[in-house]
Amino acid sequence: MRMIFRAVLLYLTIGAGAAPAALTIEITQGMEGAMPIAVVPFGWTGSAAGAPENIAAIISSDLSRSGRFAPLPDRDLVAHPTAAEQVQFHNWRMLNVDNLVIGQVTETGAGGYTVQFQLFDVFRGKQLIGFSFPASHADLRRVAHHISDLIYKELTGEAGAFNTRIAYVTTANRGEQKSYTLLVADSDGYNPQTILNSGQPLMSPAWSSDGKRIAYVSFENKTAEIYTQDIASGARRKMASFKGINGAPAWSPDGRRLALTLSQDGNPEIYTMDLASLALKRLTSNAAIDTEPAWSPDGRSLVFTSDRGGAPQLYRIAASGGQAQRVTFEGKYNAGADFSPDGRKLAMVHGDGGAYRIAVLDIETGLLRVLTDGQLDESPSFSPNGSMIIYATGTGNREVLAAVSVDGRFRQRLSLQAGNVREPAWSPFADD
């Protein structure tokens, strides 16, 4: 049995072939009032002609993608200090930058490096933070993202989400056949890795709360089935293959349960599955379509989509079951909810007047705000620090991803050179 499983897996991943293409990110709407900052290229001490990664460029790109910072273009850098004693603060004050980042990368032998950086307040002329990290070659980008997180936290007071990942599905035509690929990449689009490749649809990737596993729906057996897969090892397990729909998997925050949609009893209902015992508990009981469960971050309740009122709207139900309460009232169509990490907001697909856009509901005030302006926007997913929402949209005849800040002021697009990309899911913070 195990052999068969392996053979199938092997077949499924054949065709992944060369390394998958990386997403390209472009900022499509800037944010006024972004903080000017200078990130100076890091110094390098080592045997090769230059450092193996351009740490300053990674940091600069991270800060810029957050929408909160406006890094100075390289050509405007008046000096290239790599140590504190070389910094002339008056030069940077003249450029009106609030903060300055400098650093060095030093080869320590045997593929090891030390990355050191300092963040300065230019106007007060003093260091805010400074750290040094040992790193292997493979860790250098992660260290750069970690430095971005530290800078972001120091200057905004909020956690950065640069050291996170996104999962997404791409489709491509191979002759008459369609090919579906589930991938995981760093949140800046780098390092895309194929999780699964199939000739049949792949859907609904969902992260476990520790960021180590992904649940998804695969039609590889000509029927919908839910699998979970360990990202590092690739080992996967079929969790649900009941008659009818097996869809919309969502991990509970404590990692012990999976919420899912099954239609084994005749129509789509929300269930939870205990991952240890595989025992199912049915939460809804309604002749309508009940689907797309999303756990509240405290794990006590779930929001789901139901058309029990005649059209799809969001409802909330206790994780133990019981009566569902309607949550959305504005607009003819509200579906596919995702909770903000603080549990106060819900992102959703909001349809009104023919267009389907991403909206955010403030649960306490009931205020609904439409954030996007596409025609067919879907699959919203909050960044783990709650600052951005990534979603799927169309441009021309192509499917691309986009991200928008929760206040709607800052936007970016994530696209592939060729092919379609859809169903983004932003990872939680890594647990390491």
Binding site: E176, Q200, P201, S204, S263, I289, Q375
Partner: protein, 179 residues
């Protein structure tokens, strides 16, 4: 056998003349044998299948392109699973065939247009295939003869982001198994 081959060729010619494309047999990831690669999908998403093998009931043959049984797609309104009157007649013809061929099974593939969220669309496709299933069963088809699967918006019959494509994509396809 030769006649069947001929009619298959004729169907293919019709398909090509009509500017249609043959589907590639929908080989699944697990390498299932391509048993349905004789189907021809028209631009309209209607699937006519030149199937080898006979079997007829009430004068209808699965192989006859002029038979109602060659029509194997039912279309739906937006966010609806209501089957129209004309399609009720079509389904009763399929039901009669299936009731007369109790060894034959069909899979009802439910589909939705691309608007709105993907998993809700899986729900819509499921509801449509269940509606067709109920009608077939009302007309005497045994429950074990009918399987359903919902693909939601994942397998559009027509590409494009407009009303025409959406109308063709809100559908249930009746797929005769093993033919």
């Amino acid at each position: 056998m030769r006649d069947q081959l001929k009619s298959l060729c004729a169907l293919l010619v019709i398909g090509v003349l009509a500017g249609c494309s043959t589907t590639g047999g929908d080989k699944s990831a697990t390498g299932e044998a391509a048993v349905e690669d004789r189907s021809i999908t028209t631009e309209g998403g209607a699937v006519s299948t030149g199937v080898a093998g006979s079997g007829s009931f009430a004068g209808y043959s699965l192989d006859d392109p002029s038979s109602p049984l060659s029509r194997r797609v039912i279309y739906f309104e937006y966010d609806s699973s209501n089957v129209g009157a004309a399609d009720q007649d079509l389904l009763s013809a399929h039901a009669a065939y299936l009731a007369g061929n109790p060894g034959q099974t069909v899979t009802l593939e439910g589909h939705a247009d691309e608007r709105g969220s993907r998993e809700y669309n899986i729900g819509l496709g499921d509801r449509r295939s269940q509606a067709v299933r109920r009608i077939l069963e009302l007309h005497g088809v045994a429950p074990h003869q009918v399987n359903t699967v919902s693909y939601g918006e994942e397998k559009p019959a027509a590409e494009g982001h407009h009303d025409v494509a959406w109308r063709l994509n809100r559908r249930v396809e009746i797929v005769y198994m093993g033919r």
